[in-house]
C-alpha cells in the first residue's frame, strides 16, 4: 500500500513536471525582458568602445572588463565569435576576446565598435526548460588600426543570445548574455506563451518604474566628443556630453538627464523659445549631433543661435545617471520644468565662469509625466540610456 502510494506520488510529480508550463504574465513583462536584453547588448557595445578608446587607461579598462563580465555575461567562459582578428581562432571565450582588444589595439591605436540592433526575437524557452532566452540580431561595424598598423574595418551580422534562468519554476530577473555567434537565420525555437488569465490582464499596472521601451525606430546614443567613435556609456568627471540622434520619421525630440533625484532638461535648448518644452523638431533620416556649439551642429534657422553645452560631474566615485531620450511624432504635452535655485551642484568659481544648472523637475514628477503621457500611447517612445560618470 505504501509502495503503491509512493509510486502514485512519483507519477503525479513526473506528470506535473512534464506538463508544467512556463508562461509570461503579460505583454508588459515580455517587453521588460526584451528591454533588458537590449540594454545588456548596449552595455556590451559601450564597454567595447571604451576598451578600444585611448580616453581610458589600462587599469580603468580592466575594471570595465570585470564589471561587464560580472553584470552582463553569464560567466567569463561565454563563447563569442572572433570578429577582431581575421587570422585568429573561430571564436574565443569572452574574457580572452575583451583582453585581446586591449592587447591588439594598444595605445596609441584605437578601435571603435558600432552596434545596430536589427531585430529582437520573441521570448523563447530552452529545450531543458532551464532558462528563457532572447535572440538579439545586431549589425556591427568595427573600425580601427591594430598594433601592426593594419586597418581593421569590417561589418557583419551577429546574434547575441540573452538568457533568464529558471530556478524552482521562477524566472530570475537578471538578463545575462550567454552566447554570441555568427548570424543564423531560420533557427526554430519554442516561444513562451503569454498567460491567458483574464484576471492578470485586468490587473492595474502598479509599478511606477520608467518603462524601458526598446525601439528600432530611432537611433540615439551619448558621445564624449562630436565624432561617432566617441560613443560611450562610461564618462569621466568633466567630460563633455553630446548626443547622436537619427530617426526614420520626422518628429519632436526631448532629452533629460536623471541623477536619481532631479531630472535636468537638456533638450530643447534653453534659448530655443519657439517650441519650448514641446520637443525639438527633427527631420527624417537626418543625423544630428546635439550639445555642441560647432556651426555644423547648429540646427536652428538663426545661424547665430547658441546651443547649450554640457559637462558631466560625478559626486561619488561612480555616479549612475539615466539619459531619457523622448521622441514623438507630434509636439509633446508641456513638461513643467523650471530653474531650481535649491540645487547646489556648482561651486562659486564655476558660477563665476558662467556655468549654470539646466531647468529641472524632480525625478518623481518626471515619472508621473511619463506615466500620464507615454505609457498609454505608442506615438511617443522613451529610450532609457544608463550612463556612468567616474570621479
Amino acid at each position: 500500500m505504501r509502495i503503491k502510494y509512493f509510486l502514485t506520488v512519483i507519477l503525479l510529480l513526473l506528470f506535473r513536471l512534464s506538463y508544467c508550463q512556463i508562461e509570461l504574465s503579460s505583454e508588459l513583462e515580455k517587453n521588460k525582458m526584451v528591454g533588458k536584453a537590449a540594454s545588456a547588448v548596449k552595455s556590451f557595445q559601450s564597454t567595447l568602445t571604451s576598451l578600444g578608446s585611448n580616453r581610458f587607461n589600462y587599469e580603468e579598462k580592466q575594471s570595465y572588463i570585470l564589471d561587464l563580465i560580472k553584470n552582463t555575461f553569464e560567466n567569463e567562459k561565454v563563447r563569442i565569435i572572433n570578429d577582431i582578428e581575421s587570422e585568429g581562432s573561430e571564436d574565443y571565450t569572452i574574457d580572452i576576446y575583451l583582453r585581446n582588444i586591449l592587447v591588439w589595439f594598444a595605445p596609441p591605436k584605437e578601435v571603435s565598435f558600432n552596434y545596430k540592433i536589427e531585430k529582437i526575437s520573441d521570448v523563447f524557452i530552452s529545450d531543458e526548460k532551464t532558462y528563457l532566452f532572447i535572440k538579439v540580431e545586431v549589425s556591427r561595424e568595427i573600425d580601427g588600426i591594430n598594433n601592426d598598423n593594419a586597418k581593421i574595418l569590417n561589418s557583419m551580422k551577429i546574434d547575441i543570445y540573452v538568457k533568464y534562468n529558471i530556478v524552482n519554476g521562477l524566472i530570475k530577473p537578471r538578463a545575462r548574455i550567454y552566447s554570441i555567434t555568427k548570424h543564423m537565420a531560420d533557427m526554430a525555437f519554442t516561444v513562451v506563451p503569454l498567460s491567458k488569465n483574464e484576471d492578470d490582464l485586468k490587473k492595474p499596472e502598479t509599478t511606477k518604474q520608467v518603462p524601458i521601451i526598446e525601439s528600432s525606430d530611432f537611433e540615439a546614443y551619448p558621445l564624449a566628443c562630436t565624432k561617432l567613435n566617441c560613443r560611450t556609456l562610461n564618462f569621466k568627471t568633466e567630460d563633455d556630453l553630446y548626443l547622436f540622434f537619427k530617426s526614420p520619421v520626422a518628429g519632436y525630440l526631448s532629452v533629460f538627464l536623471d541623477d536619481g533625484k532631479d531630472c535636468f532638461k537638456l533638450l530643447p535648448y534653453s534659448l530655443d523659445t519657439l517650441n519650448i518644452n514641446s520637443g525639438m523638431p527633427v527631420e527624417s533620416q537626418k543625423e544630428y549631433i546635439y550639445f555642441s556649439t560647432e556651426p555644423q551642429f547648429n540646427y536652428n534657422a538663426n545661424k547665430f543661435f547658441v546651443e547649450d553645452t554640457y559637462q558631466l560631474t560625478a559626486e561619488t566615485p561612480k555616479d549612475i545617471n539615466h539619459l531619457y531620450v523622448i521622441f514623438s511624432k507630434n509636439p509633446l504635452n508641456r513638461i513643467d520644468v523650471r530653474k531650481n535655485a535649491e540645487i547646489k551642484i556648482l561651486s562659486e568659481t564655476e558660477i563665476k565662469k558662467g556655468y549654470s544648472i539646466p531647468q529641472t523637475l524632480t525625478t518623481s514628477s518626471f515619472k508621473t509625466w511619463v506615466n500620464n503621457n507615454i505609457n498609454n500611447t505608442k506615438e511617443i517612445v522613451l529610450k532609457d540610456i544608463e550612463i556612468t560618470i567616474q570621479k
Binding site: 582578428e85 587570422e87 571564436d91 583582453r99 594598444a106 598594433n147 543570445y161 552566447s179 525555437f189
Partner: protein
C-alpha cells in the same frame, strides 16, 4: 553416474569459461575497433585540414602576441604582460616548452613558454618578427588518457631581429608543434554544437638554417 555428472559439469564449466573468454575477447576487440574507428574518423582528410588550419590560426595568434610583447612602441608594460598571459593561454599548460636555437652557436635550449616570452620581451633588438608558416607534416593523432587527442604538426619559423629598422639577425627553423585537440561547445539559443578546438603543446626544434 557420478563420474558422468562430474564430466558433464566440467564440460559445462569449460563452455562457460570459453564463453566468458569469448565475451572478453569480443568486448576488447570491439573497444579497440571503436577506438581505432574514432582515431581513423579523426584522421580523415577533412579533419586534418581543419586541425592544420586551426593550428595555423593559433600560431598566428601567438605571432600577434609576440608582436605586441616585442613591440618597443608599446610603452605600457601591463599590456605586454597581458599579451604574455594570453599567449600562455594558447598552450595546454604553463609547463609546455619552446626550444630555441641559434644559427650562430648551433645549440638548442628549452624554455618554459612563459620564460620564453619574457626572454624575447627583453631582447636587445628594437623590433622582432616571428612568423610561422608552411605546414609540412601532420602526424597521426592518438588519444591520451585524458580523452584529448594528441598529434604533431611541423612548421617553419622565421625569426628576424631588427635594430633601428634594419634586420640584423635572421634564422629559419623547422619546428615541431605538439597539437592537442579538445572539444568546445557553441550555443545557438538552446541548440548546442560541439566542435574541435586546437591547443598548442611543446614546440621543439627540428632543424635550423
Amino acid at each position: 553416474m557420478n563420474n558422468l555428472s562430474e564430466n558433464l559439469l566440467l564440460i559445462m564449466r569449460k563452455i562457460t569459461i570459453v564463453k566468458i573468454l569469448t565475451f572478453f575477447l569480443v568486448t576488447s576487440v570491439s573497444v579497440r575497433a571503436q577506438e581505432k574507428q574514432a582515431i581513423e574518423k579523426l584522421l580523415n582528410a577533412e579533419d586534418l585540414k581543419i586541425f592544420a588550419s586551426q593550428a595555423i590560426q593559433k600560431t598566428n595568434e601567438l605571432t600577434s602576441y609576440i608582436g605586441t610583447i616585442t613591440n618597443k612602441d608599446i610603452k605600457e608594460n601591463e599590456i605586454k604582460m597581458e599579451a604574455t598571459d594570453l599567449a600562455v593561454d594558447l598552450f595546454i599548460s604553463e609547463d609546455k616548452i619552446v626550444e630555441v636555437s641559434n644559427a650562430n652557436r648551433n645549440e638548442v635550449k628549452p624554455f618554459k613558454i612563459r620564460d620564453y616570452l619574457n626572454k624575447i620581451r627583453v631582447l636587445a633588438f628594437t623590433k622582432v618578427e616571428i612568423t610561422f608558416y608552411d605546414v609540412q607534416y601532420i602526424s597521426n593523432f592518438k588519444k591520451g588518457p585524458d580523452g584529448k587527442y594528441y598529434g604533431v604538426i611541423t612548421f617553419f619559423q622565421k625569426f628576424t631581429g631588427f635594430k633601428e629598422g634594419k634586420p640584423v639577425y635572421t634564422d629559419v627553423t623547422q619546428k615541431n608543434i605538439e597539437v592537442v585537440i579538445d572539444k568546445v561547445t557553441t550555443i545557438f539559443g538552446s541548440k548546442k554544437v560541439e566542435r574541435w578546438n586546437v591547443m598548442l603543446g611543446d614546440i621543439t626544434v627540428k632543424e635550423t638554417k
